[in-house]
């Protein structure tokens, strides 16, 4: 790293662009070139290569994997299912996190700090641990079902090892991210503007709809983008809470790469995820432009 910093300081870049800016940006540029752009490029190259059944790569160039994947109903289903599930999870995360974020945004002093720590504390535990926690809560012998049975329900409801479990678990796991993103995007909220609306005759609900909601759109957009991306790419939670019955892009990529050793398909599906992310990012920038 110090070598990078040194070369960045060399004055050969001193032109019209501010040399200081370049010097400051160079390290992170190199890191992301080496750590992100190169692997992704490598992945995309992989998706255009042939492979044997044993997993050995044969090199060459073929679009065969892409065409098979995009024509196979199983994969198309998988893609749509992943997008739909992630959207549902994003909406649920948003709905559950929004009131908390708003309350946090408005609280002051040490109470606010206590709440913030409470909100962030789940991030201190690994998602694996939290996922197992959800299994303990939601399984047939778990807290929820036992309580329900105690009150007279005859058979347990299936809350885990299916889509319900994945949605519940991921929603909770993503809530801290959503809350932090919402808080970051709440800068335009203005208590005085809300009060002005009240004096102009707006009911609290109208104030929410006409003032609070539009002003918090940047936060909503940011949080939704973040959670959608995290939901699409999340792997451990769907794997564990899905109990092998839930098929999503990330789990399928794992299976293809590690179990079937079909790297080109895994690489192609990863490419599909990148395309989904790109589209989401496009939506996000569009939305931001329209509100700001």
């Amino acid at each position: 790293m110090s070598a990078v910093a040194l070369s960045a300081n060399s004055p050969k870049n001193a032109g019209r662009v501010q040399p200081m800016a370049i010097a400051l940006l160079l390290p992170i540029t190199i890191v992301s070139l080496v750590g992100f752009v190169a692997p992704v490029a490598n992945l995309l190259v992989l998706s255009f290569q042939k492979a044997e059944g044993t997993g050995a790569l044969l090199g060459g160039f073929t679009t065969e994997t892409w065409t098979t994947v995009l024509q196979d109903m199983f994969y198309l289903h998988l893609i749509l299912n992943s997008i739909a599930t992630s959207l549902v999870i994003t909406v649920l995360t948003l709905v559950t996190s929004y009131p908390i974020a708003l309350y946090l945004h408005r609280s002051r002093g040490s109470w606010r700090n206590v709440l913030l720590v409470l909100v962030i504390s789940p991030l201190l535990l690994s998602a694996v641990v939290r996922t197992y926690g959800w299994i303990a809560i939601l399984s047939d012998q778990g807290v929820v079902n036992r309580t329900l049975m105690f009150f007279g329900m005859t058979s347990p409801i299936r809350l885990v090892f299916n889509m319900t479990g994945v949605v519940i678990g991921l929603t909770e796991i993503l809530m801290p991210y959503m809350i932090l993103a919402l808080l970051a995007g709440f800068g335009h909220l203005d208590r005085q503007a809300e009060e002005a609306a009240l004096t102009l005759g707006a009911t609290p609900f109208t104030v929410f709809r006409r003032i609070i909601l539009p002003l918090s759109l940047p936060g909503i957009a940011l949080g939704s983008l973040l959670c959608f991306v995290l939901a699409v790419s999340s792997f451990i939670t769907p794997k564990l809470l899905g109990g092998g019955r839930v098929f999503l892009l990330a789990t399928e990529i794992y299976d293809q790469a590690i179990v079937s050793l079909n790297w080109p398909v895994a690489a192609t599906l990863s490419g599909v995820i990148l395309i989904i992310f790109g589209t989401a990012l496009l939506f996000y920038t569009r939305l931001l432009k329209s509100v700001m």
Binding site: D190, Q192, E195, L198, L200, G201, L215, V291
Partner: protein, 364 residues
């Protein structure tokens, strides 16, 4: 009071504040505020920064709950009525515009809430924007306006709904002198034409004196005096009011009957007093020169000589500080263009009528 327009009906108390109080953890922001305002009246809240003006308005608008006391409008107790049911318009000290709406949408908001028909909204918005001289800027967002322009949008937004009560929290603080003058006239005209009972917070005493029917002077959360501009200026109830409204000379002394001994001077005062007092007199009621003031009816005149230590030419008036015995007395003469400035170091004669003095017990 000779003022044009519909005279406020003095008989009935339209808006009553009864022993209104707001206590924060460590401060008593408003203390025992009792006030009656007639329908159509424009009352100024005048006072130094932090005296509780904004807090009073916020309690009136229902934005801050009162710690104690009642707010009654037309016999109806509004103390616990939510702000959106109070029919009061408010111009916020910090404008509080809707940042995501353009000027026209900001102004239209209150009308939309009142379910005014679309066509009428459009027309009234255009009128209101013209009134505050912002025609042509309807499509701008608040962030694309100057402070003064934002303030005028806030003004238009509150005026356009024609509420039964209007609360202005320093609505002209950010305007230049000419625009401020125009806006004062416009506000007064609309307020009188529509008979909107209004409270106008300001710490500009000229504004309070020139445009309001009555003035409430506040000090540290308390109402010091409520009266017409003339009452306040000519008959200030407390030393604070006397010094806050208009300029005054302020001398400490000991009263014995109708004379006060102060700093080597013996002043004839109006009324009789005893003990430690402060004596005040307005600089422009003091006459400079040999002739002095005449009291045709033989009333007491204070006359003294002193040495000019400072002279300031302020356009319309000339202000001089004169050392008399141990005190410094400020004198203000209107500039008639003929006389010369009193020279520094010159010995001059001052005179003023005993009835122009104001005497208050000294603060303990």
């Amino acid at each position: 009071m000779a003022r044009a327009g519909t005279a406020p009906s003095q008989d009935k108390a339209f808006l009553v504040l009864h022993r209104l109080r707001k206590a924060y953890d460590d401060t008593l922001a408003v203390d025992d505020l009792t006030l009656e305002i007639a329908k159509g009246e424009l009352v100024a809240f005048l006072g130094p920064s932090g005296c509780g003006k904004t807090t009073s308005l916020r309690m009136l608008a229902g934005l801050t709950p009162a710690s104690a006391g009642r707010i009654v409008v037309e016999g109806r107790d509004l103390t616990h009525v939510p702000p959106y049911q109070r029919d009061m318009g408010m111009v916020f000290q910090s404008y509080a515009l809707f940042p995501h709406m353009n000027v026209a949408r900001n102004v239209a908001f209150g009308l939309e809430m009142r379910k005014v028909p679309r066509g009428e909204i459009a027309q009234r918005v255009v009128e209101a924007i013209a009134l505050v001289r912002l025609t042509g800027r309807e499509q701008r967002r608040p962030s694309e306006l100057s402070g003064g322009q934002q303030q005028r949008v806030a003004l238009a937004r509150a005026l356009v709904i024609r509420p039964s009560i209007l609360l202005f929290d320093e609505p002209l603080s950010n305007l230049d002198a000419k625009l401020r003058d125009e806006m004062r006239t416009e506000i007064r005209e609309i307020q009188q034409r529509l008979g909107i009972t209004s409270i106008f917070v300001t710490h500009d005493q000229v504004e309070a004196l020139t445009m309001c029917d009555r003035i409430a002077v506040m000090h540290q959360g308390r109402l010091e005096q409520l009266g017409t501009p003339e009452d306040l200026y000519e008959r200030p109830a407390t030393a604070f009011v006397a010094s806050f409204v208009g300029r005054t000379n302020r001398l400490k002394g000991i009263a014995r009957g109708d004379t006060v001994e102060t700093g080597g001077l013996s002043l004839r005062t109006c009324g009789t007093h005893q003990g430690d007092v402060v004596v005040m007199m307005r600089p422009h009621r003091i006459v400079l020169g040999e002739a002095g003031c005449v009291s045709a009816d033989g009333r007491a005149v204070n006359r003294m000589t002193g040495c000019v230590i400072r002279t300031v030419y302020a356009g319309d008036v000339v202000q001089s500080d004169v050392r008399v015995a141990d005190s410094i007395i400020a004198v203000e003469q209107s500039n008639r263009g003929s006389g010369e400035l009193p020279a520094v170091g010159a010995t001059v004669t001052l005179s003023f009528l005993a009835r122009d003095t104001l005497v208050y017990p000294a603060a303990p």
